[in-house]
Amino acid sequence: MSTETTTGATSAPAPTRERSWWSGRSELFVAALVIAIAAVLGVQTALMDVPPGTASPGPRFFPTIVTVIMAGVGVALAVQVIRRPADRPGLDETAAADAGDSAPAEARTDDSGGRTQWRPVLTVIGSLVVFILLLQPVGWLLSGALLFFGVVHAMGGRRPLLDATVALVFSSFVQLAFVAGLGLNLPAGILGGIF
């Protein structure tokens, strides 16, 4: 869905640094996750309570097929990542992307060579966690504004007063449009008495 074809130039890692075996192979965690899910699926399928008198291809039939395919795909992914790590120069098409006018057919939409900036990601996750915890006790208006503010901050908003105002305006607008207008049910929280 994202279409960043122009990010490649900036995301090429410095080749001079000493690289460990793991660099470019962090996707092995994905493969491990896939295999782990397949394992859980397999165990749960085996332990499933099948109601008596169920017709022949029962509720275990399809999950068994999915388990087998998933385990196979997970192993295949692991093998592929081990054989061809992501950011070795020459194999990663994004490294060659030159402002969109090269390699149109290979428009890879990922940029796995780039380094993730974890701070903003964790800020967004934290804002969501706080929002979920506060939604019912505090109500939509404040927790929604806080979520908005948190994401703005994570994305590089550096004018707290303005950002906070926009956040409050946005969550009030949502409250008015969707609760008053469309009749959605949002928790009113501590400000419930005022409205």
Partner: protein, 516 residues
């Protein structure tokens, strides 16, 4: 002429002030998300899903379809003006379109793309409206085995063929299937993968899944510094006027592009990138051949107008036939279509041949509104494209904060349960991880929607055949579908091997080999 009568009735419904308003809202929103890079029509429809439950289904689907079409019109604006494709369907347009803009021909490029998108949309919608009886006749011959074959075809086409890496596509497919398995089995009533949690008895809510994967995942991805580079300055543009010389070149290109787009709407290819690149490649080859024969010079690389016309027509031509496949066969061929199929199920309707009988009013009003929406989009995009491009001036933090807040609102409003918000966070992390490693999202959505269909039809077919697997290969239709899968997989494997060998042979070629 039966279809014509139906269509006229449909127009009568669609032209009601209320439905016109929903169509207008849809095309405005669709164009907006089309213009903005990173947001797509699938994310917009996912976010609309929870708040449209209050609406009459006809109005809701008119709006969804308008968003879908609008995305395909709007995506080229930023691609041409700033070399920032709004959706992946405009990557091909950006190549020559941006070159045209750099040479001061931005108005012509924008006009070419808007008219091209209009022609593709109108022609494919017409085709679907008048061939719908044929689609229904075909669909009526489908039994459990055929539907299973169709689902397998959709699974493999989206995951193995389209995505850059076959393994990653299959990973996405498996994740989707696992998500679809959670909940109580509809046939036997057995509890599956719920870990005893009553919140999971009904499975994951489709709203939570789509909003989390498409919206939250994208926000995290952009926060991690991956998406959305700041793009170049907005280019000024004058009146969009195509001279006769331009028209003589664009008209055949629009037609050729449409021809590429039409069949790909029906093939579950997870979007419209492939036909746009095929159309682009063909125009490029034709221009080279024409230049070699001593005709007009080959302008590709310097802003060839055909390179804008053909991909745009191809991209929007997929939308009409995709709607046909969705309504007539119940086959979702893109992420947006998959979410719309889920919306039909939420309203208790099952797309397929019976939909035309039971909900004929809705279907024909929807088809009529596609024509109306296309005209609206032409009017909105032809003169106002530079205005739309100003949307790119919205500060990114506010845009993504708005998306996050809106996602949380939608998920909570649809489920009224805290569990779904936690699930949204979890699946959002999954979506982030998938983007990070280039695992495509469309196969997940298609597997979530079609997974239960595939399972039910497979079990039904096997029950009828008393466990004999041969029953799955018993009819011409299923054999043809399986044969198609094998052929396509074979062609793709051979092409990939060849491309990989070529890439190894010349790592830093000045012009990468075209893929056809």
């Amino acid at each position: 002429m039966d279809a014509l009568n139906h269509l006229m009735t449909g127009f009568a419904h669609a032209l009601s002030p209320e439905n016109l308003l929903w169509a207008l809202l849809g095309v405005l929103l669709g164009t907006a998300v089309g213009v903005l890079p990173g947001l797509g029509s699938s994310m917009a429809v996912a976010l609309l899903l929870p708040i449209t439950f209050q609406l009459d289904p006809t109005a809701a689907f008119i709006m969804f379809a308008a968003v879908y079409y609008g995305g395909l019109f709007g995506d080229s604006t930023a691609a041409i003006l700033m070399n920032t494709p709004g959706q992946s369907s405009a990557i091909a347009t950006a190549i020559e379109g941006y070159q045209m803009a750099r040479r001061g021909r931005a108005p012509q490029a924008l006009a070419t793309s808007a008219i091209g998108a209009f022609i593709g949309a109108i022609l494919s919608t017409t085709l679907v409206a008048f061939f719908s009886p044929a689609i229904i006749d075909l669909a009526l011959q489908f039994g459990p085995a055929e539907y299973f074959a169709l689902a397998v075809f959709a699974f493999l086409a989206t995951s193995a063929v389209v995505s850059q890496s076959m393994v990653r596509g299959l990973v996405a497919l498996c994740i989707g299937l696992v998500i679809s398995l959670v909940g109580i089995d509809g046939i036997s009533g057995a509890e599956r993968f719920t870990f005893g949690m009553p919140q999971l008895f009904e499975g994951f809510s489709i709203v939570t899944i789509t909003v989390a994967l498409l919206a939250i995942g994208e926000v995290l991805h952009v926060a991690g510094g991956h998406g959305g580079t700041e793009s170049g300055a907005l280019r000024r543009s004058g009146t969009p006027w195509l001279g006769r010389k331009d028209l003589r070149r664009t008209l055949p290109a629009w037609m050729r592009g449409t021809l590429f787009g039409l069949p790909f709407g029906v093939i579950p290819s997870g979007g419209s990138e492939i036909p746009t690149f095929l159309a682009y490649g063909t125009e490029r080859k034709l221009a080279r051949r024409r230049a070699a024969r001593g005709g007009a010079p080959d302008e590709f690389g310097n802003g060839a107008i055909e390179g804008v016309a053909a991909p745009e027509a191809a991209g929007s031509a997929t939308a009409g036939t995709a709607m046909g496949a969705l309504l007539g066969l119940g086959l979702p061929t893109s992420a947006t279509a998959a979410i719309m199929l889920a919306a039909f199920q939420q309203y208790g309707m099952q797309p397929g041949p019976l939909l035309f009988e039971r909900n004929g009013d809705l279907v024909w009003a929807l088809l009529a509104s596609l024509f109306i929406g296309s005209v609206m989009l032409l009017v909105l995009n032809l003169p106002f494209a530079p205005l739309w491009a100003r949307l790119l001036l919205i500060p990114k933090p506010y845009l993504y904060a708005g998306i996050t807040t809106f996602s949380a609102l939608g998920v909570y409003a649809a489920a009224s349960a805290m569990a779904d918000l936690w699930l949204m966070l979890l699946l959002g992390l999954l979506g982030f991880m998938m983007r990070r490693y280039g695992i495509p999202l469309a196969p997940v959505l298609i597997a979530v929607i079609l997974g239960p269909v595939a399972e039910t039809e497979l079990r039904r077919a096997l029950a009828v055949g008393q466990g004999d697997v041969a029953v799955l290969f018993d009819s011409g239709i299923s054999l043809a579908l399986y044969a198609l899968i094998v052929i396509v997989l074979g062609v793709v494997t051979v092409n990939r091997a060849r491309a990989a060998r070529a890439a190894r042979a010349q790592v830093s070629a000045p012009h990468p080999a075209e893929k056809v």
